[in-house]
Amino acid sequence: MLEIRIHGRGGQGNVVAAYLLATAAIGEGRHAQAFPAFGAERRGAPVAAFVRIAAHPIHRRDQVRSPDFLIIQDQTLVHVPGVTTGLKPGGGILVNSERPAAELGLDPGFVTLTLPATRLAQEYLGRPVPNTALLAAFLSLTGALPLEALIEALAQRFKGDILERNRKLVEAAAHEVPAGAWKEDEDARSA
């Protein structure tokens, strides 16, 4: 079972990111579950969402406390208490940031990578919504699912020009990170 926790701020498409990832997995014939940890749903407030992906049906419905990976949509969240709590040793953290990972000051026991996801989204979509770019980079890093699965999931939400822009964003974001760099982790954890 692969467990992912997504942190962001209200309005950044946090729940949508979780739903897209699970939708992509279900489209690939996997079992998956995505749900938010709802607090007060205010724009800008820290929020989290959870994704589980497995080869078998998923019964548990508790929050993801020991994720394999973190996706952080806003770099100002990396030092908010609790954000990295429970991440498995050696777990990967993908942060939306213009800065190099080393500058973020995260625990060196984790593997941190950054992606300028807001800039990419602004460039391809004209909107500062980092979720799709981060998911594309995450899939490229882990090989957990083919990028086409993410595009199929996007096609359930968008059509025409918007979908086409998202497709280009997915491809661009995937190329920004070293493909397969987290693959061994993913293989071990989803086994």
């Binding site: 279900i26 079992h31 995505a34 938010p36 508790d62």
Partner: protein, 390 residues
Amino acid sequence: MPAALEGSQAIARAVALCRPQVVAAYPITPQTHIVENISKLVADGRFDCELVSVESEFSAASVVLGAAAAGARAYTASSSQGILLMTEVLYDISGMRIPLVLTCANRAVSAPLNIWNDQQDAMAVRDSGWIMLFCADNQEAVDTTVQAFRIAERTELPVMVCVDGFTLTHTLEPIDLPSQEDVDAFLPPFEFERRLDPARPISQGTLVSPEWFPEVRHANYQALLAAEAEIEAAARDWAGLVGRETGALVEADGPGEARTGVLCMGSIHGTLEAARAAAPDLEPVRLIRLRCFRPLPLAAIEAACAGLDRLIVLERAIAPGLGGVLTTELRAFFADRADAPRIYGFAVGLGGRDVPLETLGRALASSAADNPRHFAVLDLEPEKLPEEDR
């Protein structure tokens, strides 16, 4: 290939497949997405019904009461304070034996304000005369929604389909939506014999004097008890049609040597299942899921508990001044049984507190004592309270 659907979206699609002619609802978290999705299906021309936007839950319940009394298939949904505001009408609906379906996206009841999941709202209307079914997952919520209309229309009783708020309503997972053909085959058009019709005038819900009131109540009581058969038939026939088991009254599974049972309602069943699978060192446990809470299926519960020395009841609500509703009901039922299990009751996950895998082990450990506490909040963190409140 199953669809990837949020629980609320799947429930809305299931409702549309049932072709209700009238839907009336007032939005309340966490039921909101159900109503939003129904509105969108109607706006997109994919669901032909009279969608009535009302100014309160009291009106929502009143509109579906009137619509169903006039012979329409009718549906509504609510949660928490919304269910409480409907309560007067809920009694009217069952008292007049009006068949309709309500989804309760289970949520805590204020005060203090809390939008998250427990089942206090459903417990608050447990004696309102409705059939009450609790779903373990979103697939079951879809399948139960379809079954609920048939159960309601055959028994002439309203059915409340309970789904855990957020935990189910806001979780996306793989869903097999039934085909329109299967739903149509299962659910023929609603023909309400007692419908309000100017050509055949009748009265509903009129003043009933003491000469007749006990007889009316007795008849309702008997009708609810007799509904067990229709609930079982609906589950059986639906499984025969689509090849999916939803459970009927009570589901139980576990190793034959298990002498401890853990009984629950709703979606924590999946977490308990996963907990049992993840901890092979725990003592053998039989998991018992009450799918049907009203009517309380006593014979099925007794069968599910056969051979148990200890029964742990995990409730998602609390009855102040008493303890647990279900715990108390089961203790009363087993009181005169010779080989009854000792019954331990706990509330867990109140107001959306996460129910982790460790819950199962904690419940087993907390109920090992010879003198169980009458009832306790299993996941209480007493250090948060001043001494006098612990």
